[in-house]
Symmetry: C2
Subunit: 267 residues, 2 copies
């Protein structure tokens, strides 16, 4: 518990060398596995096939709900470069593709240049214990995933829990594992899809907002402690919206950026 | 000329039913075809295979430089849904994969919800003719692509052309075709990669900044006229950076959002 390799998250992302794996119960929203968890499960196998530690940029298309049970993950290396290994793969159950993934794996300390530039600041959050818990039961759906995680939302964005929507599609807060597992780059894929959708703070009819596609860029190997996260949606139209995520580690470094395209519930 | 179907862009993105195509000369930067052009060429074939008009979200990984010459494009439909058809494919020459693509195609007027929300405004640009031309020869590399396009940069961001870098990784301006071709959703894939990199306005050593991965979300079918574009980079570290693009049509609607991960030249 709380150690990389032996934590709940590590057990739930185990993949045999032949790609056999299992979507574990308890990482779901109303019975469907969280998209970040599914991406982490697939990426762990692809990272092993690529023989590179970090998912530098990974994209998943979500094709079928990830109910608990056995799956097989396959991957094909497309290019082995000096800095990056590019690989495509999928997660299947029988003849059904649940997830299609393409990614470039490498070492997030890539280097080759000393240039740095930063136009983003981490969200200015209240302390962890003064933020509002996202629990399995305090949102519009039952989210067992929240028994595995400690997601703590800035009170300014948590009003959706009792129908007080801010009208701004922003959600910020803290992310950690319930069992104290330290962060690594695999955990960032989960963090990128672990918050309530930022659109929950808009005056929308409630409903499932399925992810079509999620891309995560991993920019650093994070330090061990809790992550600061910001999620925001800037444009909703034609029944779809994007959600951008920015994730900082406990040392204040931007460690991941994510973007997903999702569909609004039909009204 | 200037008509969808008969313009330079349409000729350069022709693909036979069996996937045979040609990377045309003249769409390149220093001999390597522009990444947006390559994505449009692949997406045109994938859209035909999917039998859906618009690339709603497409991701490309760039594996080898796209020099002019014959290529073959293949695609495999993964899922045919009511709103979206998901397809994966690649562009190859011989046994070399140049581009790996995954995308969801549909009709950008998807619908299913009347909700709209907008937290972004188009860039407040000077008129087209008061912006600064990006030509084939006025940047650090020879860019024949610019003989096909009319890219007009806000003077506030064009100083890089004569070594006066703003220090802010922002590039805004206008996009149109030199032959007057109207915009459509395929053209948005090109527009998303047609500007000088926003990092050209940082105090970097000059050099090639290869795209690892580009994702474009198409949010509307654009009206015919020139596009307003904003590109910005918020984080440069470990030899890599992201560039986000926002594209508005002549009716003032956000029609596309893009993000790419690119590598800095080694120093």
């Amino acid at each position: 518990m709380g150690v990389i390799g032996a934590s709940e998250f590590d057990v739930a992302t185990q993949v045999a060398a032949d790609g056999s794996a299992e979507i574990r119960a308890g990482w779901d929203i109303a019975g469907n596995a969280n998209g970040g968890y599914l991406l982490a499960l697939a990426a762990r196998h692809l990272s092993a096939l690529a023989d590179r530690p970090d998912p530098i940029t990974v994209t998943a298309h979500y094709l079928a709900p990830g109910t608990a049970g056995p799956v097989s993950i396959d991957g094909t290396v497309l290019k082995t470069g000096k800095r990056l290994v590019t690989i495509t793969g999928s997660m299947r159950r029988g003849d059904r593709t649940m997830l299609q993934v393409v990614g470039a794996f490498g070492d997030a300390r890539l280097g080759g240049s000393d240039v740095s530039y930063d136009a983003l600041l981490p969200p200015d959050l209240p302390p962890f214990d003064e933020c509002v818990e996202r629990t399995a039961t305090n949102g519009p759906a039952h989210v067992p995933l929240m028994d595995r995680l400690l997601v703590r939302i800035d009170p300014a964005h948590a009003g959706y829990q009792h129908g007080e929507k801010s009208g701004e599609a922003v959600m910020t807060g803290w992310f950690a594992f319930a069992d104290g597992r330290p962060m690594d780059t695999l955990a960032l894929l989960l963090a990128a899809d672990s918050f309530p959708p930022a659109v929950f703070n808009l005056h929308l009819p409630p409903g499932w907002v399925p992810t079509v596609e999620l891309t995560v860029h991993v920019r650093e190997q994070p330090s061990a402690g809790p992550l600061r996260c910001r999620f925001l949606t800037r444009h909703v139209a034609n029944g779809m919206f994007e959600e951008d995520g920015e994730v900082w580690d406990s040392a204040g470094r931007l460690v991941a950026m994510s973007r997903q395209l999702a569909l609004l519930a039909r009204t």
